[in-house]
């Protein structure tokens, strides 16, 4: 049985093709202005790698900010449920997940089956999310992937950088640059700020090992090390932390297809629609 999970995030689109629980192919692309186009492009790219087409899929589930508009998905599932499901597959025994994406962060607790038991999400502001690191990297003319290792070169927590507002942080960094502060010190400060911002989320949901970090920021060793130090535990980072949500969606798609087969294809029970003329899910 082959299924597809598509995760349309705020910065990147991800797709995972799964065959009988085994990862067949995956792809990550930058999100364009049109979520439908992004979903279609990333799905076809991942399917092409596996030599398959949409028609070969037993079921397709979408997730991420653009999940509601993916035209070829049979169901959409929130990225919170998908990250728990995906991390459960990649990190044995995981109970706490910190997903640090482009525009938001979530701390998630789950049970042994990967079902969410509680979660908290950052407030509306994107400070403390991946996007803020992108702004810092641009400002210091550092490649995103070099940012973490460079930040580790500073011995301490770096210079103080605002953790509540990216615009404030930006002007602080500009003045540090004028004063000639070393890049590594500034980056260390930015990583410390981001880590302290998301630390509160983990504390609110309560930390139970195993602890995994997913999402693009899991690739930033500068943030990860500081979080580990503050929490006193080692973080498990999946090999491809960006595709965890899409993997979770592909697993949900498999469960959906199995249920459908069991029911003799009577279709899912209709959910009650809203009275308003708003969208449906």
């Amino acid at each position: 049985m082959i299924t597809l999970g598509v995760d349309v995030g705020s910065l990147t689109g991800k797709a995972v093709v799964l065959e009988d629980g085994e990862l067949l192919a995956w792809e990550v692309i930058l999100t364009g202005p049109d979520s439908v186009e992004t979903a279609t492009a990333v799905a076809h790219a991942a399917l092409a790698k596996a030599g398959l087409a949409l028609g070969d899929m037993a079921a397709i589930v979408s997730t991420g900010y653009g999940r509601i508009v993916v035209p070829f998905a049979q169901r959409n599932v929130s990225e919170i449920s998908c990250h728990a499901k995906g991390a459960n597959r990649l990190v044995p025994g995981v109970r706490t997940i910190l997903d640090m994406g482009g525009q938001d962060c979530k701390a998630i607790r789950c049970d042994a089956t990967g079902k969410v038991t509680s979660f908290v999400m950052n407030d509306k502001c994107a400070a403390g999310a991946g996007r803020s690191m992108g702004i810092v990297a641009d400002l210091l003319k550092v490649r995103l992937e070099d940012l973490g290792p460079l930040a580790l070169e500073a011995p301490g927590d770096g210079v103080p950088v605002s953790s509540t507002c990216v615009v404030f942080a930006r002007s602080e960094i500009l003045s540090y640059q004028r004063e000639g502060t070393a890049k590594s010190e500034i980056l260390a400060g930015a990583c410390t700020a981001l880590a302290s911002r998301v630390l509160g989320l983990v504390k609110r949901v309560g930390l139970e090992p195993e602890f995994a970090i997913t999402g693009g920021i899991a690739k930033n060793v500068g943030v990860v090390r500081r979080l580990e130090r503050a929490l006193g535990v080692e973080a498990r980072i999946p090999a491809e932390p960006q595709i965890v949500g899409a993997l979770g969606a592909a697993i949900f798609a498999r469960e959906l297809a199995e249920k459908k087969a069991k029911r003799g294809d009577r279709g899912a029970p209709a959910r009650r629609s809203s009275l308003g003329d708003g969208g449906s899910s």
């Binding site: 599932v77 919170i80 999400m121 959910r271 009275l275 308003g276 708003g278």
Partner: protein, 378 residues
């Protein structure tokens, strides 16, 4: 909506929500006077007995514009939105504004409002915040008498005991009918959706109660005759700040939740208690208000939590959503104590902070969907 046809009378309630101000405008056009009311301690019965239409001020989901010149941007967006209405002339028909001693920003409208609408008299009923105490009776009764005197002066009509008793009788009837409508949500699936219940309760709060009672009787008949709607998914209780916009409940039901009960000042809080017509009518109103421990600005807090837990049991709720308007400090203070009480009973809770202007609704949808997925049996 798919599934069986819904009661036709619901359209009348929906029409009220589309343009609530049409109700007081029609009242004025017929020669009556209108009192804006904010919060539940300025008894509407006194206004009704004086021939005035009490109008519990509803807001609109728009960003705050003019009010930020008068109130700090870190205060309740709902109240600032109402002040916008005062400033741009949308409330020019008000003959009186009746306030209660609830949250800071509502209280302080006593100072701010007259500067924005200088020709509308404003009266604050300074209700005690510690309730369920017989010791507040003399003071509270005196406050109610002062309110009655002010209403008499503004309306030009005396409020006699008999007239007040008639008003209480009418309002008690409304409260009994609403309780009956809400009781139909105990069933599984509930006989009306969370959005339908909200629309009914909110529109009823706006309408003259004689008209509302007529519509509610029709609704009860139609609900008994109608097929119950399809209702899958976890049963959810919503509690929290003043909610004057069905959008949040629509979203909960769109992502698969079924809102079976609500503890809100625009809905069940205003009809939770009855006054009765025994003895002195002001005393009857005091007895009712002294039991109205339903707003987070009042004490004892645990009495409010007891009621939420009783509602969880009565309506067979699987989970609770605490909705906080942005900067609604009274309810935000209660979030964690409420979590403790619910955790002790293993009832899942999610705490939301929501913009009155529907800002941040994309992320809100993710949270609500994840919460519904979490409490859904897998």
């Amino acid at each position: 909506m798919t599934g069986p046809a819904r009661p036709a009378v619901l359209d009348e309630f929906r029409a009220v929500l589309r343009d609530p101000a049409a109700v007081p405008r029609a009242w004025k056009a017929a020669g009556g006077k209108v009192a804006g009311v904010r919060c539940l301690f300025a008894p509407e019965e006194i206004l009704w007995a004086a021939g005035m239409l009490p109008y519990p001020l509803p807001g609109t989901p728009e960003p705050v514009r003019l009010a930020d010149a008068w109130l700090q941007p870190c205060t309740c967006e709902f109240v600032r939105n109402l002040l916008d209405h005062a400033l741009d002339g949308r409330l020019a028909f008000l003959d009186l504004l009746a306030l209660s001693n609830t949250c800071d920003v509502t209280r302080r409208l006593l100072d701010v409002w007259p500067q924005c609408m200088p020709n509308t008299p404003v009266h604050l009923v300074n209700n005690p915040q510690k309730l369920l105490e017989d010791g507040n009776r003399e003071y509270f009764l005196e406050e109610l008498r002062r309110f009655r005197n002010r209403v008499e002066a503004v309306s030009g009509k005396p409020v006699a005991a008999d007239g007040l008793r008639e008003a209480i009788k009418l309002y008690d009837e409304t409260r009994a009918l609403m309780t009956e409508v809400y009781g139909m949500r105990r069933e599984d699936p509930p006989r009306l959706s969370g959005v339908e219940a909200f629309v009914t309760a909110f529109a009823t709060s706006i309408l003259p109660k004689d008209r509302a009672n007529h519509l509610l009787r029709r609704l009860l008949d139609e609900l008994r005759a109608a097929e119950p709607p399809e209702g899958f998914g976890p049963r959810i209780l919503v509690t929290g700040s003043a909610l004057d916009d069905p959008a949040l409940l629509e979203m909960i039901e769109e992502v698969g939740g079924v809102v079976v009960a609500d503890d809100l000042c625009t809905t069940s809080r205003w009809f939770a208690h009855r006054a009765g017509t025994d003895g002195d009518p002001l005393d009857a109103l005091w007895r009712m208000l002294n039991r109205r421990t339903l707003c987070a600005s009042t004490f004892p807090t645990q009495a409010r939590f007891d009621r939420i837990l009783a509602m969880v049991d009565e309506f067979h709720a699987d989970a609770v959503i605490q909705f906080n308007l942005k900067y609604c400090h009274p309810f935000l203070y209660e979030s964690q104590p409420l979590r403790k009480r619910l955790e002790a009973r293993n009832i899942p809770l999610t705490i939301l902070e929501v913009g009155h202007d529907r800002s941040g609704f994309g992320q809100l949808r993710t949270r609500l969907q994840a919460f519904v997925e979490m409490v859904e049996p897998s």
